[in-house]
Amino acid sequence: MAVQDAVHKQKEIQEYDTHWYRLKERLAPYPFIAPFFVAFLVFQLLPIAFSIFLSFAEWNGMGAIEFLGLKNFSVMFQDPKFWNALKITFYITAFCTIVGTAGATLLAVLLEKVEDWLASILRVFFFLPSVTSVVVIGYIWKQLYSSDYGFFNTLLMGLGLPPQQWLTDSTLALPALLVMLIWAGLGWDSLIITAGLRSIPDEVYDAGKVDGTNGWTEFWYITLPLLQPTLLFVLVTGVIFLWGIFAQPSILTGGGPLRHTQTIAMYLYDVGFRYHKFGYASAIAMILSLIMFISSYLNFRFVKSEAEY
């Protein structure tokens, strides 16, 4: 019996050496990659190629496509609305990533010091906005900020202070948006940072204790440097997300007042879907993509170099 099994096994092993088998193995990955690849080609690569092409042309979606060379880009560089949108988006990205990440780190660190059962409840609380639809968040905050009926103004008036035009005053609209954005992202970021904190092995802290570190120096010299990859991740994803932000400002202020909260994605949408200038919109999309790409690359490089000590 055992001999027969052994022979059988040997035969099987020999079988695996045949050309047929090797061919089968060689061809194996393709059916796995295929569905993704087809969808990728159709829904990503080809549209991107077409978009690049369109950025050198003008098209209103109905008539002919008119080739324009670099004209869209020259118009863009002189377009005050484009630069405005760029500026606004830059402010949003810079402010929210820096303040947001700092806040999230603080929150994560504090949470680690809290008893487990309480900490997990708190984590769920802070995480809620990240799972809520941007539309829902947008409309809640829109109501809270409402000049006549919103809660914030009711509160102010209750304290004897004058009510503010949160969403229609050109100096207040952007800060109002920033507050909402940071509020929405805190939980998510702090969760990721928590994961990062937990991956720091205890030995390092113990070693630190031997050297006589206290709370603050421990944080600054041990935790922070070792948190670099996590922080990098949070920053990079934050940058990519914020450069392309559309729904939140669109719902909260519609880009107003007078484009003080209009992001570049919103401007792109307007140009394409409201004015039907698909060529120009594609050109803007190209620039936006380039910016996101460069930003995340720079982020990556910067934090990486910091990490190499």
Partner: protein, 283 residues
């Protein structure tokens, strides 16, 4: 020493708890508005004096405005969102897992190029494909269909990346042993790799669910009439009727739309944290 830490812990915990209460105020607002009758909506008080289910009823039985009844097909919105989310998730998870397996466990010509191409497009905003995709769907006559909502989401480079990282940690010896036992590539995939990747797949499933359930931009572009609205579009468009006090129903609609997500998070919170820690993002 330990006692001191515990007291500090509770102290911080207490402080954070108070902060969390403030932090969650918008949700309190949302819920309390949803229970206010129209007359109370603009009262400026936080809690309703005479709570009512009026706003919720409106979502199902229509809105009386002047002398017409406007129906809000809320159930349709819910149905649409569920259909799109379920199908999308099934497809994405399946395709992602397969592709990740292909990348993780095999070598083939063009693998590196394809992989980097995929990563590169991950960094590109959806806007670069928005207009051509719109045009593509219009040519195919797929505007305003379920197809259009489900299919583009199938391309999920991020998910493949995540799963690939995870799958690479599965020891090859396990698969070689299976090979020797006569298992073909698919069998190895289905019976070994997938079960072992369950934590990562579950995490991915949660991410995709959240993304699709809450998606706004793509449905905005591709959906043309309100029988096909998803929940996010439906809530957004409740704003569009002039002269109507829609605040209340919007909040009611929001509460109902957020509930499934909330439940998911409560149930899956441990899973989430574990998934994020499981080498999912090691740069």
């Amino acid at each position: 020493m330990n006692r001191r830490r515990k007291i500090l812990g509770y102290g911080i915990g207490g402080f954070l708890f108070l902060f969390a209460m403030l932090y969650l105020f918008p949700y309190v607002w949302m819920t309390s508005m949803s229970f206010k009758a129209d007359a109370e909506i603009f009262s400026g008080k936080v809690f309703p004096e005479h709570p009512t289910l009026e706003q919720y009823q409106r979502l199902f039985s229509g809105y009386q405005f002047k002398d017409i009844t406007l129906t809000i097909p809320y159930l349709t919105y819910y149905k649409n969102t569920i259909i799109v989310t379920v199908f999308s998730m099934a497809l994405v998870l399946f395709f992602d897992a397969m592709a990740a397996y292909g990348f993780a466990k095999f070598n083939f010509p063009g693998k590196t190029i394809l992989f980097w191409l995929m990563i590169g497009t991950m960094l590109l905003p959806v806007y670069s494909t928005l207009i051509p995709s719109f045009w593509l769907f219009s040519v195919l006559k797929w505007i305003n269909t379920y197809r259009a909502l489900i299919l583009p989401g199938v391309v999920d480079a991020y998910g493949i990346f995540l799963l690939k990282q995870y799958m690479e940690t599965i020891p090859n010896e396990l698969l070689d042993a299976a090979k020797v036992d006569g298992a073909g590539a698919f069998r190895r995939f289905w019976q070994i790799v997938v079960p072992l990747s369950r934590p990562a797949i579950a995490t991915l499933a949660i991410f995709r669910f959240l993304f699709i359930w809450n998606d706004y931009l793509w449905p905005l572009v591709i959906i043309r009439d309100d029988t096909m609205y998803t929940l996010t579009l439906g809530i957004a468009n409740m704003q569009l009727r002039q002269g109507m006090v829609v605040w209340g129903s919007q909040m009611a609609a929001s509460v109902l739309a957020t509930l499934p997500v909330l439940i998911l998070v409560l149930v899956m919170q441990k899973q989430f944290l574990r998934g994020l820690t499981a080498g999912a993002f090691k740069a």
